[in-house]
Subunit: 237 residues, 8 copies
């Protein structure tokens, strides 16, 4: 009974798995990103092998990678680096030279750190100068006020918070830089796994805030890098 | 065809309208409150007439009263006072002598004022010292920080805010007094008529915050008065 | 591949974990609280070690602690006490001398007991006289009516209920004290893990009720203690 | 341009309007009910004319009828009776002789009266003995306890309440009769136009409660009549 | 560290667990019901022991009992009977003599059987004649039409369905008996764990339908028994 | 102050209004459709004028047109036809010659007729044979069973229903043709303006059902026409 | 305690399990489908045995079958075929001869493949020519544009996508064939397990799109087959 | 009865109305923005008068202004300019000299134009070069592909869309610039007044997209201007 019901599409090594968009690097100047959950170790290793065949210099990021998957991919991509807290695997592991404006990633509480690190590392692997600031929740305003000088140096700020999602309003009220808000699934009960923070951030009472999906540190870091690089004409990238 | 299909219950003047709970004043030491919307002018005037028959000294509050209804009730209850912004009608109109701790009502924006005034006036008519502070939204932290001395004098603080509902976290982080948070229906789109502020306040990241229904200034003022009076033994009230 | 992708922020023992707010005890007169879920045993032990370095007399509460985490923290904080049902670990374990008004915690059913105990113990460790009353659901009114004398002695009542969340309306209708309502995730189907009880409590038909997050016994006990202490001027705390 | 784009279905007087189910009276022993909203005066008059042609003795109920529609239908059905509060028009207007058990309709507040009257009148026009009790909300328990003798005489109780929907739990805990709960759209903010009361009633903590749609007084009165008649063998109806 | 932080309430064998309402049997003529989930084996055995002390003749039902819990309780209550599919344990195990009208329980699909059996057994243990009909979903109308004779003999019909919850409308349109609808959590995706069926049933297009909570077979069986017994005057029960 | 702040885009007659996709008729073989709501009379007349310039033979449909808008457009497009109930305006008004399979549109109740007519007329103006059947709700099964012969002749059936959305399951269980289900906003309370019917239809317990947006008679008629024409090779259209 | 509380209904081999609708094959010309989840291995094997007794030539499909269940059923139905990715087991395993129009199944991303395969295989086992196209998400338009020729040959297209559900609008804008959209539960956070894709697809901005339940590849493949066969008069099937 | 119940806070001309944050212009380099809805004409005129007293050169924007309000404010602020479609009033009316990168605002359909114009004008009044592109919905891909050259010149792109919110994914897949997505309340039924578009945009399948509140053209234009100016060090602004 183990014979296969019907042949899937096509014969290439990644057929039926993915369609790596090598041209995207040229087209948009961004690394290939592979979302780990829902893919088998086998599928991830096949993708890793295909990535290794691409021209040197192109960065690849694997997101939300647990230890087992990260080990397997790192074996297929020597020199890869895995950040356990962020669940991010980067290849090659060397952080590229930084250019453009400063990205500051600030998070409200201890539990928001994994998402904040994912944003911070993504920005760094996309070629940005980036700083990470933790535990500056609005329940202790002195903590965020103490970081004001750093915040004022940023070209763009990523604000990561769960629960009541109040931090972006406070930060956007302090500085002139655009703010990318990342709601996290931190909290319980009426936090609704990040929905409350998401809605609150969409209603931030200071202008200059836009929001990405819940726990989407990668997306926020990516967008922050695009903004921090914006002082270069797009055709130069 | 206009004859009545069937007799409603009972013959008293308020039969089929309401069951005024005169004993509640004794039982709980609180004024009678009449919620205006959904009641006809006729029903409200009948209730006002019944209230006038009660022993002197008992305060009555009519909430969410528009001009037309307020005029009619004020005619039935000479000496009543109507605050147009709050929609609150109080009878008798004289503010009672204040006792107990200080109630501070703080609201985030201009549009939150009607709800904030309802809370502030309710607390005053329930016999509290009460102060009203407006436009201290978290997008301009210097505004709330400038009011810190007043906030620290409060026995209880009512915080009124719409949109992202971020103010209660900030206030509760600054002072030791309990905070009653009132979400308002101010905002649009993903503000969901106050639902977002409500959820955010339930997830306030500082302890010492409890929440009442959206736009429920009366309930917050009432609860604040109960708390501010808490230094009197309940049996003394 | 196990090398760390990038250095996190700072060198202190709690760097990248938390920013203990020692000043908060002075500022707000309240214990440090550490929320257990989502923190590793290692992180909790590090926080415990930092707490041990603080001046004597400051209480610390660890909430929602399972046995494994509680064991580890108790080892780091000799004299700590863990209540298994409530999941609360307190250090030092001695209940402080009680002052201020009486806090009564009442819960509707057997399954609400863990949350009710968390509220009751929190109030006691914050220095309140506190009583716990169980299984007084509204389906058997004689049970709550039998406790009326105790309820009338309270300065503040915490009401814990799941399912239809009907108990706060009944209790608030009986007494003059403020009521803090705690919805629980008890129930199934259309109980929506506490959302139904939460919404019902926000619509309590008696005034004098405010609501905290689902299952937030800690927050309710904390707020009740603030209210019960309100007869002391805040600057005296 | 006013010519009709295309012929609708069929030529009978009610074609394209409705398919009156005369056989239902035989099949299920129940009156024809016509839901008013969304039908034009012309459509309602046409339906009324068709009903007049049916055999004598069959009752018809028009629900949610405003004054303008009620006038027009009453002209087409001489002897009809319209209850303005309930919005119910009955034809013939005479209440039929009562049989079976007693239906008690109890509502929590003044604003719930229209829905309660719709239930009460429906039960009466379906041939039941029925009593209406108003303003017995749980915030003043003495009011519902004062009606206990009447409630204990009922074969079935319809409980009508908005806001927190707490009354059905209390009533079902007091008596042995089945309870039909009707949530109303009374309330504001987190009452969500009756959704909160609906959910709370579905989670009533006493057994013996079932729920109908928000504001569905007609459906509750109908079901109560079916239950009150249940002591007759169904084939006898 | 294992000493207990503080004494819980009271010294009786069920203190801090439950408040068995022995009087309810007299008051409402119904069995004691114990909801299994969330209670430990120890708590359930303690409750069972307390039940054994009550006067003979009172039935007790334990709902949603898995094998492990059922074994333990059955040991404490000799003669108990456990229905694995329904998860219901009854003590004493003998089905009481039947009286009153017929209860018919009909379910739409195979996956709805556990809930349907819970309703059917509950009605039988509450003293009703009861029949169970399975797999009569509306996608094959001939199946429900084939059962029409049985349905017409019922005093009350419990209709159990998940997914689109369409069966109650069809059944209520066929017969004169009241219909108790039980939505089940059967389905996936936009079935939302029974919410869709629940909402659909509340909007049943035939009158005579009321709804209980999702998967609440016990509640439906209980209510059906109350209705089927309604031909006895309540004071006789 | 009436001068314009800034020039909008471009100079053509429809610039800043719409981009009529004349090529779509060739590309997809379908008429141009203009959604009326939210467009001013002036904008609609401008669009009508542009449509008149197109090659003869191309049908245009204006949906959800009230009388005022329909009059204005009909003046600009002589020969147009407006169906008041459906709110549909077609130009040219002549129904094209029919080809392909039969489309049957069936609706559950009187209030669903406007949406059903929109679907039925759309199918006819797209060149289909189409029949309309009204008031075949599942509460009276004999009504839908009486139409079985017609339903069996259909190549595709559009089923229109509000409230509990039960009809598609019943119809799809009777016939072999694909069913397009259209939820309507008919109902109140927990009907949630069509959301309940929408969810129920997505969970139809018979296979062969797909769903369009609430009240989207146009979309259903369009899709039905595409299916009924499917016996022609797409390249022939 | 293991004796059975009460006899379930009836004595046939599938009594109390299911009511196989053999007549449906004649009535609707479709295979029997058995939904695996929630059924025990024993129940599935009993159903398989009953299916084996039916006349030859009737296809049976078991959906969402894991390896353990598939093994057991395949043993009972020799010649069955199981596709692991789709979770589909077909008996007999031979794909029937294809007839009618072409079905194209297109999915947006790698993670959508299981649902897409379920649709594709269902269409093939229902006798259609069918093609599967993977990884044509709208973020890389060149991928879907590269498949335009194939899409234009389809009689019906099944579009499978999670996350923002944008692909159906794009595909329906390119071709004349009807589009069946299948939202998948792929995504996280505000993807809400497919709800976002479902809602987006219901609002597809091109006409000609209808939607099935989340992850319902079987339903989409079934409906596509009905449409692709529509060029045969239904009475011929 | 018209005397005022109690003095509001303070004596300044804007007391009890607003707290204009003149320092914000210095602090953040952004214009003052006044949200029109919910403010009376009197309040708006008072605010306008206060703005006129500020130092020259500071721009003020009044958003969501209807004709009546705009007339009154324009009278108080000579030289103001009102764009009727966008509802935006700017003072002074002269568009400032443009600097920094190019902002492109693209909207999907005709009904999205008001929101798109609000974003486009906001960016221009904040000193950006900005272009507006309309009616480039994904149902006609050639329209957006035809604008590719312009899109590639942008430093930041604002994408405005309602219904299925699919356009941001397509645009972000084409270009390297960051995308600010604005969901609009355009649509009906399951569009849920913009909620569906909002959720879809948060799940955009291309990286580089962040989202603002429904219909928040002002916020998007403001954020786009901040990004387009990012090539200037913040301290230079």
């Amino acid at each position: 009974m183990s014979e296969r019901a019907a042949a899937g599409p096509g014969p290439g090594p990644l057929d039926g798995i993915a369609d790596l968009d090598a041209a995207r690097a040229d087209r948009r100047g961004i690394p290939e990103a592979v979302y780990g959950p829902g893919k088998s170790v086998g599928q991830l290793v096949a993708i890793a092998a295909a990535l290794r065949e691409r021209p040197a210099g192109q960065v690849a990021l694997f997101t939300r990678m647990d230890a087992r998957r990260a080990e397997a991919v790192a074996e297929a991509l020597p020199g890869a680096l895995w950040d356990e807290q962020a669940g991010l695997l980067a290849w090659p592991g060397e952080v590229p030279a930084a250019r453009g404006g400063l990205v500051v990633v600030a998070c409200a509480g201890t539990s928001d750190i994994p998402v904040a690190r994912e944003a911070w590392l993504t920005a760094r692997y996309l070629g940005c100068r980036a700083e990470l600031v933790v535990d500056v929740g609005v329940a202790g305003l002195h903590r965020v006020l103490a970081r004001r000088t750093l915040l004022e140096q940023a070209s763009v700020i990523v604000v990561v918070a769960g629960m009541d999602g109040a931090l972006p309003s406070v930060v956007a009220g302090l500085v002139a830089a655009p703010v990318i808000a990342v709601p996290t699934s931190v909290g319980y009960g009426a936090a609704f796994e990040g929905m409350t923070a998401l809605l609150a951030m969409l209603n931030a009472c200071a202008p200059g805030v836009a929001v990405v999906n819940i726990d989407n540190g990668y997306g926020a870091g990516h967008l922050a890098a695009q903004i921090a690089h914006a002082n270069l004409a797009p055709t130069d990238q």
